[in-house]
Amino acid sequence: MKIVVADDSKAMRMIVLRTLRQAGFGGHDVIEAGNGREALELVSRHGPDLILCDWNMPELTGMQLLTVLRARGVSTPFCFVTSEGSQEMREQAGSAGALGLIAKPFTAEVFSEVLSPVVTS
């Protein structure tokens, strides 16, 4: 599988990669993006099987990225990984077509629970 991980923090991208491995989802081809616009380009270029994306990012936010992708008919499973996990944001994410929202800080167990339906071990 190809997985795009988009976050403007390099530290957080590394933590997401590590947590994927801890959750039993290691060995996949991971592509990193430092903002939403870069993620949009990488998604267009690589056609990933999953997108893990921060909400607040420069250039293009996670929600804007998701909106553009869905408007273009791209149905790749999309999961927010963000510091803001309010019920309102979870509802916004769901309404926009996201698979789910993982709030930071997270655990491998949460990754496993949310991503198991779309990621192979």
Binding site: S9, K10, M14, N56, L60, T61, Q64, V68, E84, P105
Partner: protein, 191 residues
Amino acid sequence: MTVRHDLDQVREDLQAVLADVLHAVLGEEPCGLPGAPGVDDPAPAPRAEGRDVVGGAPAVSAVLAVHDDASAAMLGVRLRVPARLAHRLAARMFACDEPMTDDVLDAVGELANIVGGHVKALLFTRARLSLPSVALRRPTPAAAEREGAPSTTLRARVLGDLAELTLLPRMAGEDLVWPPTLRPDVLEGQP
């Protein structure tokens, strides 16, 4: 809504946010309950010109803000951690022994981002969160501080160092970077 009033009411919740995030990110249980021994204000330490200090040690500061869409009020969120703790934080996040300075700044910014997200969820219904700005030097006081607006400071001791969270009501939000707010029709035109 009066942010100051709300901060007084949720002080224990804010303390728990700081402690929980530090615990989750650093893997160490901090002590920081209000009035607990060892978390009182340290004696003021002399500051080297242009350098920030917290708990008497050189510090790394990250600042962001929450903009309340309903009242247009701005709440500043500032996290300051001693350089030694910032280094340990980055080493843990990047899984290396000697993180680069940029990695240390990135790690502290992300820690502040996580704390800010939880503060936003605790205090606001519809609000926007800025991106964090991080500096090794002492941050320029926010306009609210220059005007003497009351701030709320919480501290937690972890790995022998003191992390400090300050909330700044009436922050002007100058010099902060905000995520873009493009309309859907503009988004459609993205390359």
